[in-house]
């Protein structure tokens, strides 16, 4: 660590910003450098892109199992607004309570270990003491006794952790989406998908079923081992830095897709990347699926020349059915025109990272 002033120890590390209304979200230069750019080559197609969830380079989005960044406080405020308007965004079937406690343990221990300046956890048997300094929370509770927390264990801990979370029960050689908190999703509904199995909830995805992707991915997940988490990246695009692009609110945000002009592409059009990680849980044998959303504006993206070139090529060559499914069709051409000057045709180096 350098001797320079460490911004991450001051409250101002966390940006005061919004993901709705006036949309003041943006990324600092450091945040742009650590963006989990999802393309390791100049084209994109579905694949079983699963790797071990090993620590990445220091300061990268995968440096720690759970990534807390400068958007943390603002994202938690946005989640609270979504839940206040629509309680169905957080649901758990009764048999998932043990998995909820497993999740609380996973998140609290990771956050306290990797970000001791912000979070601490003291455990004395089942008497736990949790402190969350950025959100000003100091909570003593009894592990395993839901009555000692203001919300159920899953809701309690995920109101304090970036990313959507699903808890999957494993039975009949399948995974069942039996609990989750989903407030920053790319157009899918927890309320609708609750209780579905892996093949059912992936129903609307084009091509991937026929490519055998879901069958192979499911086989892999059924054998997921405790202590050996895995991850994958998924991506789409979002107009305005809106976290809550749910189907529930599509009648409100869908119109945004028609507001893209050559003048506003840089600010309005965002690449939306989901860093998805999966852990086997010790008590319940359930699996946690975390969906950590990262947004980057086109004008921010092109500050990394390799990413500007590459994203132009990926978007240009994306098959129409994938573009339709991802909802890009209305603004793809305008975005491509804006990106074209950043693609000089030079070759790009393999791999995700900036040159």
């Amino acid at each position: 660590m350098s001797l320079a002033f460490d911004l991450s120890r001051t409250p101002s590390f966390f940006r005061d910003e919004t993901f709705r209304g006036d949309f003041t979200f943006e990324n600092s230069p450091e945040s742009i450098r650590r963006f989990p750019f999802p393309f390791d080559r100049d084209q994109y197609m579905y694949a079983v892109n699963i790797e071990q969830h090993m620590p990445g380079p220091p300061k990268s989005a995968t440096a720690f199992p759970i990534d807390i960044d400068e958007h943390y406080v603002a994202e938690m405020a946005d989640r609270a607004k979504v839940l206040a308007e629509d309680p169905l965004r957080c649901q758990s079937l009764p048999h998932m309570i043990t998995a909820e406690w497993d999740l609380l343990e996973l998140l609290m221990t990771s956050m306290a270990r990797d970000y001791p300046q912000w979070f601490s956890l003291h455990r004395d048997g089942d008497r736990w003491h949790w402190v969350n300094r950025p959100l000003g929370i100091d909570q003593r509770f009894t592990f395993g006794d839901a009555a000692t927390l203001p919300y159920g264990p899953m809701e309690y801990v995920t109101r304090q952790c970036q990313g959507d979370f699903c808890l999957l029960d494993q039975r009949d050689d399948n995974l069942w989406l039996d609990a989750g908190i989903v407030t920053s999703q790319a157009d899918w509904s927890l309320d609708f998908d609750l209780g579905m199995n892996f093949i059912e909830w992936h129903g609307p995805v084009p091509r991937a079923h026929d490519m055998g992707i879901f069958e192979r991915a499911l086989k892999f997940l059924l054998n997921l081992q405790i202590g050996r988490p895995i991850r994958r990246l998924n991506w789409t695009m979002t107009i305005n830095p809106r976290l809550d692009t749910s189907p529930e609110n599509y009648h409100r945000w869908g119109i945004d897709r028609t507001t893209v002009t050559p003048e506003n592409v840089g600010d309005k059009v965002h690449l939306r990347v989901e860093l998805q990680a999966l852990w086997r849980l010790p008590r319940s044998n359930a699996i946690v699926f975390s969906i950590r959303c990262y947004l980057i504006k086109m004008r921010e993206l092109v500050t990394v020349p390799k990413w500007g070139r590459r994203f132009h090529r990926v978007l240009r060559d994306l098959p129409a059915d994938l573009a339709d499914y991802k909802g890009l069709t209305n603004y793809r051409a305008t975005t491509l025109e804006w990106l074209a000057p950043y693609d000089d045709g030079a070759p790009t180096s393999p791999g995700f990272f900036p040159d």
Binding site: L194, Y250, G254
Partner: protein, 191 residues
């Protein structure tokens, strides 16, 4: 109709000899599929309970042998009875559903919620191709939707029926049809 992995595939009623009992729920002309499936199998009918949505005063349909027959005037009343029979059913009871798609959507969600899975449930589609649809925006449930797009009867938003089905809800998802071009609707099509 497209292939959707989340959607159950309605099949043929297939009463199994080894089932300890048979619980049938049928709507309207769906009863004809029941009579056909049990034809010549009086032994099975003697262990069968039939819940039927049919008008008050309608005669007991012929061909049900020794089955216990219960007529109910509406789908809601029949499903209440069906749920009660399910709750009291003995181990090894096989469940059979016949009627319109919207009826099968709703009745199979009741069966699924009671833990009936796999070979324990057989279904047969008869009657109009209508679907049960839930508006994803206001969560209102609509039976007998025959056309897409249509206006939500609860909140008024124009909906298209997405190719996504929830067995828990027994419904397809209805999503705003004109969010990206208000007032511009795709041509209507029937299911």
């Amino acid at each position: 109709m497209s292939e959707i992995t989340s959607r159950p595939i309605w099949g043929k009623l297939d009463p199994a000899d080894q089932a300890s009992a048979h619980l049938v729920c049928a709507e309207g002309h769906g009863i004809e599929a029941v009579v056909a499936a049990f034809a010549g199998r009086d032994g099975l009918l003697s262990r069968a309970t039939v819940v039927h949505v049919a008008p008050v005063g309608a005669a007991r349909p012929a061909g049900l042998g020794g089955a216990a027959y219960h007529r109910h005037p509406s789908r809601a009343t029949a499903l209440t009875a069906f749920r009660a029979h399910l709750a009291r059913a003995k181990m090894g009871t096989q469940v059979h559903l016949a009627g319109s798609e919207a009826f099968l959507d709703e009745a199979s969600a009741v069966a699924v919620a009671c833990g009936i899975v796999g070979d324990g449930l057989t279904t047969e589609l008869s009657g109009p191709a209508t679907r049960r649809v839930q508006c994803v925006h206001c969560k209102g449930m609509m039976d007998e939707v025959a056309v897409t797009p249509f206006a939500c009867s609860h909140c008024g938003i124009n909906l298209t029926v997405r190719d996504h089905y929830s067995r828990r809800l027994g419904a397809f998802m209805g999503v705003c049809a004109d969010a990206e071009a208000p007032g511009v609707l795709p041509a209507a099509s029937r299911f």
